[in-house]
């Protein structure tokens, strides 16, 4: 019998022999083996032993082996030896990447979390995700393992892997940021964490909320996401003037529940904006007075809102569920007051609720007046004060969840020093942390970078040097000769960028997009052309009829094509949009967006239109650093579709270097020349004069002019849309007066670019 076993379990035997030699491990090994053997039978332990050997083979060390055995014992009731072996192999793979300490932490965390991982797939995901993390940044594995109980959410375990991936992508090579992210100290990490098992979030809801606010309250406030505050800290909507800040996600809320909460919260905030935000001066008010007055004000604007839109009672009523059983705290009492004010039919044993209802009812005649909230709020607060129960200013959170934080209706500029500490505390507790400005911060360098002279070259941007794809001549105006092969064009691979800010900008330009969409619709149909002398048609071509009659009388064969008809003109058009991304496009506008941002938006809108029209088009960005280094970045080639990847490439364009327009135009011309189309257009989008480090600007203007003329001879029309606030640019000199379109205000660019296109395309 024993011989038979020996032969069937080579791994177990080898392991046994190895462990005998190691005094520190032998006892624990034997203990684990025996325990597992009792449960599963010794022969079944072979895979488990093989797993342990895999750990030994990667030199995992005693700590890892002990951790593995600990986990094996703990998980033995649920997992069979094969599953335990899979755990060992996963741990071994991780150990190879991240070392022993990380593996110990991962094994211990795994033992605790295993039930949440739901099955072999979830378990494999855990090890795969950690190995991937270890591969890139071994030092973060332990951090993640320590936070695993927050990251692996029951029912949403698979999102763990997505979190790791997102973290690696977001933090790039920044080691400090990476550590902060995986220690869950980074705001983005908290946002992503809150999204696990929750949603739809702000991003998904924004468009709908915007429309609902417009529909019901005819108001169009700016909507911004608020990152989560921290573990177990509820977030509330914040109203800051015309800006509504909504939680990026309501943690723990999913699907329709999350949607309704967003709706309820947004419409509540919208009602505040609509019925007037009073801005009560804080002065001497104590936190409890502020809290109660806010509560009454909330009820007041809701009563007004429900008068107009009775269906809102259903929406908000679902959140008023406080009952006397909730406990004796002030917070619970405030919830009941809120319910009582919201629902006059609600009866509560506490006198405060009844009093609030009575006062509120009595003030019905002046419900339009915000002062009533202050009035009733302070009287109720006095009652609370007399009861000598403590109001926790620091822990105070507006309830129910759809209500805003209440700070928007208070003016904190005048605070009596007597009460200021308490009030400060309350404000601090509720205040949204300064937001990580994801779209304000440029992707092209740290903020606060010293401004550099416009149009000058900067050092090379990255390690990726691209490939030289062509050499072009250049006109030397001074010498009056064309220098052959003078410039080299380098094709830089386009990097995908963060699409969200661009999408948000597109969203904001909805009205303009609508106009462009209508232009598209009209242009798509094409114009009708009247066709004369047709064999069939809806009308007689009277001239043809007369000729036919004359022919008949003259005894000749008449031409029977005597009808008129109409037909649609076909569009046959190719367009290449050449975008200047030189250093000067970094310039910031009043609203914080850079010129490049506006260019991106303009190009995105035009591209959207072109895609819908079905016109053949390509997008090409350019910049230069001397004649040997003219860089073009293909965002979309003629053959590619305009899809999410192209949009990401557009979003990923970075500003830098100079503007050697002539060379870029030659390259654009060469590209579009290969396309078959009846009409070919090159649209140049630039923010300034041609310039480069190694040549005078005037020469480049002349060179660009020459290219434009050469292209025209080839049947390619070139148009320049230039940002030219002063109206003194050289665009007319380059593109010709009719083909140059100076744009005085950068903000108008998107509109003008699309307009220009439709004007051109019609010709």
């Amino acid at each position: 019998m024993s011989e038979l076993l020996d032969r069937a379990t080579p791994a177990l035997d080898r392991l046994g022999r190895l462990m005998e030699a190691r005094a520190t491990l032998a006892a624990r090994f034997e203990e684990t083996r025996a325990s597992l053997a009792r449960r599963h039978g010794a022969p079944a332990l072979e895979p488990w032993a093989a797993g342990t050997l895999a750990l030994v083979d990667v030199n995992a060390g005693a700590g890892v082996l002990l951790a593995f055995w600990r986990a094996s014992l703990e998980l033995a009731p649920r997992l069979d030896p094969d599953d335990l072996a899979a755990m060992a192999h996963g741990a071994a793979a991780l150990c190879r990447e991240a070392g022993s300490a990380a593996t110990v932490a991962a094994l211990d965390a795994f033992a605790g979390l295993e039930p949440r991982l739901t099955g072999a797939e979830g378990r494999a995901m855990w090890w795969r995700a950690l190995a991937r993390l270890g591969q890139v940044t071994p030092d973060c594995v332990e951090l993640v393992a320590a936070q695993a109980h927050r990251l692996v959410v029951p029912g949403h375990a698979m999102e763990f892997e997505g979190f790791i991936e997102a973290g690696l992508r977001a933090t790039g090579r920044d080691r400090a940021r990476r550590r902060a992210f995986f220690a869950l100290e980074d705001p983005l990490a908290l946002t992503l964490l809150a999204r696990i098992g929750a949603g739809p979030g702000f991003d998904e809801m924004e468009a709908e909320l915007r429309m609902v606010l417009a529909a019901l309250w005819d108001t169009r406030p700016e909507l911004q996401p608020l990152p989560p505050a921290g573990p177990d800290m509820p977030r509330r909507v914040n109203i800051a003037g015309p800006v509504l800040r909504l939680p990026a996600v309501f943690p723990g809320m999913e699907g329709e529940g999350a949607r309704r909460l967003y709706l309820a919260a947004t419409l509540h905030a919208g009602a505040h904006l609509h019925f007037g935000n009073p801005r009560f001066p804080v002065r001497k008010f104590r936190p409890v007075q502020i809290a109660l007055a806010t509560l009454v004000e909330d009820a007041r604007i809701e009563a007004l809102a429900m008068r107009r839109f009775p269906g809102l009672r259903r929406l908000w009523g679902a959140y008023h569920v406080a009952t006397p059983e909730d406990g004796p705290t002030v917070a619970a009492l405030l919830r009941r007051v809120a319910r009582g004010l919201f629902d006059p039919a609600y009866a509560d044993p506490d006198a405060l609720v009844g009093k609030a209802q009575t006062l509120f009812r009595a003030a019905r005649d002046r419900i339009e007046d915000p002062a009533m909230s202050l009035d009733i709020g302070t009287r109720l607060a006095n009652d609370v004060g007399q009861r000598r129960i403590r109001f926790d200013a620091l822990g105070h959170v507006a309830e129910p969840a759809y209500r805003d934080d209440g700070l928007g209706i208070w003016d904190f500029s005048e605070i009596d020093p007597e009460v200021s500490d308490d009030v400060q505390m309350m404000v601090e507790a509720a205040r949204p942390t300064p937001q990580e400005a994801d779209d304000a911060a440029p992707q092209d360098g740290p903020p606060g970078e010293a401004p550099e002279p416009v149009g000058r070259a900067r050092p090379a941007r990255g390690p990726d040097e691209g490939v030289i794809v062509a050499a072009y001549p250049e006109w030397d105006a001074g010498a009056g000769i064309e220098r052959a092969d003078w410039t080299s064009v380098r094709e830089m691979p386009a990097a995908a960028g963060e699409v969200r800010p661009l999408l948000r900008a597109l969203e904001r330009a909805a009205a303009l997009r609508g106009r462009v969409a209508r232009l598209v619709k009209a242009a798509k149909v094409g114009r009708a052309a009247r066709l004369k002398r047709q064999a069939e048609g809806h009308d007689l071509d009277i001239d043809a009829v007369i000729e036919a009659a004359i022919a008949t009388r003259a005894g000749e064969m008449p031409d029977l094509r005597v009808f008129r008809s109409s037909a649609r003109l076909q569009r046959d058009l190719a367009v290449l949009v050449l975008v200047d991304v030189s250093h000067s496009t970094r310039e910031r506008l009043a609203d914080g967006a850079s010129v490049l941002d506006v260019e991106r938006l303009a190009v995105a809108m035009l591209a959207e239109a072109l895609e819908k029209l079905g016109d053949d088009f390509a997008l090409l960005a350019f910049a230069s650093s001397g004649r040997g280094d003219v860089r073009v970045t293909p965002v979309k080639s003629f053959a590619e579709p305009y899809d999410a990847a192209a949009l990401a490439r557009l979003a990923g364009l970075q500003a830098g270097l100079s503007t050697r327009l002539g060379a870029a135009l030659r390259h654009a011309g060469a590209q579009i020349a290969r396309v078959r189309a009846f009409r070919k257009l090159v649209l140049v989008l630039t923010d300034g004069e041609p310039s480069d480090i190694d040549v005078a600007a005037g020469d480049l203007v002349q060179d660009a002019r020459r290219v434009v003329l050469q292209l025209r001879a080839q049947g390619i029309d070139t148009f320049g849309v230039t940002l030219d606030p002063a109206g003194v640019g050289s665009a007319p000199a380059i593109f010709g007066k009719t083909n140059a379109m100076p744009v005085r205000r950068v903000e108008d660019l998107p509109e003008r670019l699309s307009e220009l296109y439709f004007r051109l395309a019609r010709r």
Partner: protein
């Protein structure tokens, strides 16, 4: 000269329901006295066509309505030669009929027609008041009772389609918009046979949708739409279903807009 008997089909026998909103009747009557051409501007479904019908009834004139469309040619308005075994026979178009026999000619949604088609009305709308038919080599002086009315929705497609300046400037314009809420509720009640509460709810829903103009919707729900919806609801369809069928589905195909509109509507319903 009384109008020719063949226009009797174009006469309006029964008074159409029309609820005046402002001084539009007085303006129209003044224009009629001088036979000035009138342009009715306003969003779709706010009562432009109903107003013309009402005025034609009130003035006792036949009303010839032409719905303009993209493929409409000048021949569709003025008339054309048709082929018969004997040769070609001229056939008056609706505009020519109105000009000859003294009717009100109403060109609905004139911007839909191409600009080169609309210039055919130019000689009729200035001091000449005549219609040249070049194909017949005929010049028809307008009947003393002939009047031209056009309707025009400036908000929609205005980027693409617009009237020529030379066309616009020939008309006296009357601006139409959706009536004020109380008035609109009254109209919906009367036309749809709905009760006041239902009519008010529908008007509130319409106001929401009109707020979305330019933000997902090209046009908000029109009074006509409310009347249709009101009829559905008054006819026993549940209000939610009636609003869905009568307003939400026709007005947009965009899923996001539908959802937002649905939320707004649910806030309006008791």
């Amino acid at each position: 000269m009384p109008s020719a008997p063949d226009l009797s089909a174009y006469r309006i026998a029964v008074e159409p329901y029309y609820r005046p909103v402002g001084d539009e009747i007085a303006v129209f009557e003044a224009a009629w006295r001088h036979r000035l051409p009138v342009m009715l501007k306003g969003p779709t479904g706010c009562g432009k066509t109903r107003f013309v019908e009402y005025m034609a009834w009130r003035l006792g004139r036949p009303l010839i309505t032409v719905a303009a469309h993209e493929d409409m040619t000048a021949a569709d308005l003025a008339g054309r030669f048709l082929l018969t075994p004997e040769g070609t026979v001229w056939h008056d178009g609706p505009l020519t009929q109105a000009v000859r026999h003294g009717a009100i000619c109403y060109l609905d949604e004139i911007v839909e027609a191409r600009q080169d088609t609309t210039v055919v009305i130019h000689p009729l709308t200035d001091a000449r008041r005549m219609l040249p038919l070049e194909k017949r080599n005929e010049l028809i002086p307008a009947h003393a009772d002939f009047q031209l009315v056009i309707s025009y929705n400036p908000g929609y497609q205005s980027a693409v389609k617009d009237l020529k300046e030379s066309t616009k400037q020939r008309f006296v314009a009357i601006d139409f918009d959706y009536p004020a809420p109380a008035l609109e509720a009254e109209i919906v009640m009367r036309e749809a046979g709905a009760d006041l509460a239902l009519a008010r709810t529908l008007v509130a829903i319409a106001a929401c949708s009109r707020n979305l103009r330019g933000q997902g919707l090209d046009e908000g729900a029109s009074t006509r739409m409310l009347i249709h919806t009101g009829r559905l609801a008054a006819g026993g369809v549940s209000l939610e279903a009636a609003v869905h069928a009568g307003i939400v589905l026709p007005i947009t195909d965009d899923a996001d807009v539908r959802q937002a509109l649905g939320s707004a509507i649910s806030a309006c319903l008791v």
